[in-house]
Amino acid sequence: MGLMDLFKKKSSGDVAKDRLKLLLVSDRASCSPEMMEKIKNEIIEVISKYMDIDTEGLDIQITQTESEANNGTVPALFANIPIRDIKHGK
């Protein structure tokens, strides 16, 4: 894409392909939305002990990433946790 993006909105076919890729990674890892929700809540719980995080903006998903050891892609847990403030112990 690159330069094309500047001129053209992403086509719905590409949107479908991207959505599917993500969907299938979590499907194949047999990771249910309920389990993802649980993981998310527990991460919030743990991180919140140390920092003030934006739970609304928290994004967690299973994606694919290049394997470091060899060629090919492997599933990875991706979490984007916006920090509001770091708590400096009382």
């Binding site: 076919g13 479908a16 299938l24 499907d27 194949r28």
Partner: protein
Amino acid sequence: MSEVIVITSGKGGVGKTTTTANVGTGLAQLNKKVVLIDTDIGLRNLDVVMGLENRIVYNLVDVIEGNCRIKQALIKDKKYPELYLLPSAQTRDKSAVTPEQMQNLIDELRADFDYILLDCPAGIEQGFKNAIAGADRALVVTTPEVSAIRDADRIIGLLEANELKRIDLIVNRLRMDMVKRGDMMNVSDVCEILAVNLIGAVPDDEHIVISTNQGEPLVGSDCLAGQAYANICRRLMGEEVPFLDLEAKTGVFSKLKDLFRKN
């Protein structure tokens, strides 16, 4: 040596029955002895697509329960004397048959036929398990839509878990005008995502609807879908057949159509 092929998809309405009818008829055109088995107990459809709905006396469940012999339940096709249909029961449900019984039935049919095609019901429950029980290989049918591809992926996983030797993919209902403008995934996108061997790409074709209306499979006819199905049959038999250039033909066609629309 007979080959048992299950036609499956996970999602409903993507073209399993149409594919079974056309691939079966196409193999018969290539002088093979073929039997089509409708395994969708309770929702039988293959008989209608084949145009044989008025000839049914006995069905799959009758054979399994021993109410008749296999030969009595097989319906000979109107055009091809070496093509038969074993219809499903309409007034029973999936639990009327077990995977073991299906396997036994198929083993009995192997002696008399080159190809045994199993039209699988939608879903992954009992009906699916019955349909794949005796199969050597599978044709997975999908359309270029997120939901159909997701289900196909699940099905492929289940087929692999059941140790089917070969799994091939048919991408159905392609609309090349939409693919061209980027509003539909193309065949290579679908193949990349599902990572199985492609055995055919079938365009969305009005002739399919017409042929279903008439109860006459269109495989081998002049239209693009007819050609695509004929090619699938040849590939099934091991022949290397180049893929149709769906884009070029429909490209001109859609341009013409666009021209008329504007005027």
